[in-house]
Homo-oligomer: 697 residues x 2
Amino acid sequence: MKKLITLIICMFPLLSLAEEVISPNGVLKAKFYVSEGKMTYELFFHEKVIVKPSHLGLEFINWPSMMEDFEMGEVEYSSFDETWKPVWGETSSIRNHYNEMKVTVRQQSTNRHLIIRLRIFNEGLGLRYEFPRQEGLDNVKIKEEHTEFAMTGDHTAYWIPGDYDTDEYEYSISRLSEIRNLEEKARTENATQTAIPAPSTQTSLLMKTDDGLYLNIHEAALVDYSCMHLTLDDKKFVFKSILTPDSKGLKGFIRCPAVSPWRTIMVTDDAREMLASKMILNLNEPCKLEDTSWIHPVKYMGVWWEMMTGAASWGYADFQAIKLGETDYKKLKPAANHAANNNNVKRYIDFASKHGFSQLLVEGWNEGWEDSWQKYDNYSFTKAYPDFNVKELQAYAKAHGMKLMMHHETSASVFNYERQLQDAYRFARDNGYDVVKSGYVGNIFPYGGHHFDQWMNNHYLYCIKEGAKYHLMINGHEAVRPTGLCRTYPNMIGNESARGMEFQATTGCEPKHVCILPFTRLQGGPMDYTPGILEMDVSKVNPNNHAHVKATVCNQLALYVTLYSPLQMAADVPESYERYADAFKFIEDVAIDWDESIYLEAEPAEFITVARKAKGKDDWYIGSVSGQHPHSSDISLSFLDKGRNYLATIYCDAKDADYRNNPASYNIYQKKVNSKTRLKLHTVESGGYAISIKPIE
Amino acid sequence: MKKLITLIICMFPLLSLAEEVISPNGVLKAKFYVSEGKMTYELFFHEKVIVKPSHLGLEFINWPSMMEDFEMGEVEYSSFDETWKPVWGETSSIRNHYNEMKVTVRQQSTNRHLIIRLRIFNEGLGLRYEFPRQEGLDNVKIKEEHTEFAMTGDHTAYWIPGDYDTDEYEYSISRLSEIRNLEEKARTENATQTAIPAPSTQTSLLMKTDDGLYLNIHEAALVDYSCMHLTLDDKKFVFKSILTPDSKGLKGFIRCPAVSPWRTIMVTDDAREMLASKMILNLNEPCKLEDTSWIHPVKYMGVWWEMMTGAASWGYADFQAIKLGETDYKKLKPAANHAANNNNVKRYIDFASKHGFSQLLVEGWNEGWEDSWQKYDNYSFTKAYPDFNVKELQAYAKAHGMKLMMHHETSASVFNYERQLQDAYRFARDNGYDVVKSGYVGNIFPYGGHHFDQWMNNHYLYCIKEGAKYHLMINGHEAVRPTGLCRTYPNMIGNESARGMEFQATTGCEPKHVCILPFTRLQGGPMDYTPGILEMDVSKVNPNNHAHVKATVCNQLALYVTLYSPLQMAADVPESYERYADAFKFIEDVAIDWDESIYLEAEPAEFITVARKAKGKDDWYIGSVSGQHPHSSDISLSFLDKGRNYLATIYCDAKDADYRNNPASYNIYQKKVNSKTRLKLHTVESGGYAISIKPIE
């Protein structure tokens, strides 16, 4: 690791001239100044305005606001250049290179100080508020944060509607000026949702300007603060931060000294650079876990899709009122289709172990699913159903070289979960589990706050920190969208926090979806998207379910490469994989941890092609997904070792493939390749290709 | 123990005639019938109407209401007579004797059933709703319970205003028709309060009729349900139940089968009978703790009054923003007056041990008081301040035959408390504590619910149950008012749940207060009132505090007998006890657990005189308090063993005693007494007398 820090301090003159900080490559420039008493910043790309003069400020419940009446104080400049090694990731090392400007501003009427810290990277800007310890700013109750992002025009946005409780929406693509009218339609049904009035969007928000620049607004290092959304002045095209309120409408509590999360703006003229960016990770603190030897990527199957499709049930018995600790499950009549039973789980273990998976997720293993929604004490996290023998099944898995993966659905009765958390984690550890998938479906109960408020954010992080004590990797579903915290806590092995594959069992995900996620949701960290559904006709799993998965088989294969995650599921049922055994080979084969990643092609909503080199190996994998249109891919394999021969196994949509009617039309073939090879491949709408490339010894 | 149960079942004819159940002594009679489809009950005392026809019913959020359209179904009658022994109490055994009527009603339009169970004791009626498991009534969300209590006239009530968060109010005495106009004035300031619109009152509500009957409305066995308050139709004098909402306004969640708490109405023409009643205890379940050998009454002193008066501080340092786990207290500048320091605690131990106390409460011993209100993580319950050495002080206490008493102020950040609860209880147990005083000052944070809602009620009970696992007795302050649960969980050793002595350090408690509490608050269980302030001039403790305690010295002494509690504090500072060493003798001497209790005189707000026989001894103690007027007491000691001689030590207001100007004017003298003795004693307003009576060997 190399590390370089330089520091220059200058006392700013009384004249409010703009201070500037420029990216290491000189392309980006941020200005900060006080204008008519207001903190203001701007952002330029090649001297072209990207963010117009935008104000910063905060309102408090218990103190005078810090919106106006500022004057510039001390300004410090520094540079930072360090390369660090993630525990897992897209690349084996990450360069963290930025220039920094730390500005102290003073509110004249109150004599209070605030620090605005700006870090400028080659691909974007991060800025945050820092609250020094001082008179008149202790124990701050935040009424609202007013951070502006003033756009230069009516950009095209790839957005989901603002919501305090869910991000499981389809993306809409529209001009900023069109969001207002489209938002109601975009707000599809969810088990929990609290709309932020239109026009509003969530972050990470991707935009494209008419002159071909790609912009992204997000936040990094969301710790002990409420999650930021964006409201839009759609006349002036100015976004403004709006924080998630708690049950009483308060937007945050901070104790000084404190810092806000980073507010980030990425700018690039090459969409591939946004995908390759590690800026969000870099804005997070280095790893805080001393021992990370127990953290590892996981490829897993699950007793899951049969429940998602409605073929089987999570509950042991039919729906009824259950009293945990009092209801004797052995006296209940079992439902005919409880999936998490010993025989079925063993059947999955037999299959998954044969195909090289290391873990098997089992949902619906624990008491309480008969009566799960919005209760004080809805689930036990330590009591298995009568037909699920934890010790027997873990032993069976172990004998097959596998582990079971723990599942904790809380249905957002988070206090019931916290009450059991230590016991639940101890139970998991003592029984050989090392990954916990948690879920927060439904309204936060009985708290009445929101999934993305400060208390809940603290809860998710609490689970991650406590989980680390038990050597558990945590994969939170319905938790707040990630903001790069996995750098600091790499046992945060996954998150959902977007519309995932599960929707394909019912209302679906549009073809463009997986061609947007890497620009948005994945900026903050990996997603447990759970790809790998190869049987698109859902009625093959549940005859009563006539949903159709909107993807081709090769699109699904490609996701293992295009949607980076150290936690990758093969989500389909064994029968489907037996049916498409040739395609399934790729899922068996593909790596899940990487030394290198090269984004070869990218256009939001249209296509993403990426090549990745397997960690500690010479094998490469390429994935390419197409979105709302077919795509003709033309890629060079120049990243391969010069003069070395490789065998490529190519899984590609056939010409007549059609995600609607003919999703399983694909070709699989092998080809010798080297660094001079160019590959031209054609993918259909919502299609894709996947390639494994291995040296020929 | 004797136990007698008889059971008669009768199928009720279709005609809706009233079914009746009569108290064992024949004095009380309850009727139940369906009138125009509505469940209706009445209560009679010596055939005189006490509760006029009153309807029962419930509204739900997620099901059709159960208010109307009922028909009578099966009616079962039974009798019960059992005598049980409490772990601690006013008497060594308690008779539970009642007749019961269990009525099944059917809602015709929905074909759902409800059971109304009525238990009639000699002194009152308990009735509750029972929800059988059935179609159309699973996982019930309660919108409101509509239980009526139709009074026969404009009775005199001894009331505090309805509130979802606090019961720390002075009592008002007025006609029912006057409550509306008095309520605003009665609603004095508190750290947390949520008014129920006037006219409303809390339970237990004491009333007196114009013909001299004493009535009380309360509830028993409040488990997994929200606390009931009363709204009043002050034209018709009909009270109606109003349940405490959660953060979202929901009033309760029940899973069938389930039961409501008992709704109770006590009636007697002798105020002493109400004080002696064990009906609320009897309506609770028998003890659920298998081993109760570790539960014992406690007489204690506390490092407390000096903070209450403002002379000393809870916090180690001055107020500032603290980050638990990050703030290094050793680096903070200590406040000059932090009370919970090693030297001061040792000074208290020296004094308390010399005077026979078994425990010393120490508040402000733990990290977080500098920054305590309404935070996510406000207190640590396992980290002591630098100047408070837990192990050293417990050892010091032990060497002096004492223990320290644990204190957990949560400032209602209840989730922070729950997160630490197991560690906190383990810490307490491992360090030799066996009593935990907990506190919930302020608004429930960040939950936003109320102190008396179902989730919070479940929390308090959770603490009691978990505490039992660690052999900890729990004394919850600002928790929901007790409803007799200490029978079931006798480690629930105390509660505040009313305006306590602490108010005498500021705004005071009116003279009548302690002459009402035993009729109301104490019906549900003992109160940690913390009596024993002998220095009424608060400026003697804190020169800057000019409050004056509204009581005479003998009033304070008498409270140890009149306010029954197995947990009795001597709340004043050692200096005060040294100043009034002769009076303090009574506090040293008085017992805290009893074989027998005889209420000799009683009139609400005016006077209460009670004699109690010390557990396992032949010693008797008498306490008499007077309220808003002087009282001339004329009592017979006929309860003493016949033919046995005793020495009585009498502590009584002197003639010129005056709680305002001359509170410490008292006489202490001794007198030989026997079972034929009559004692005539005079007490002043807010005065009293206390007597110890011991056999002359």
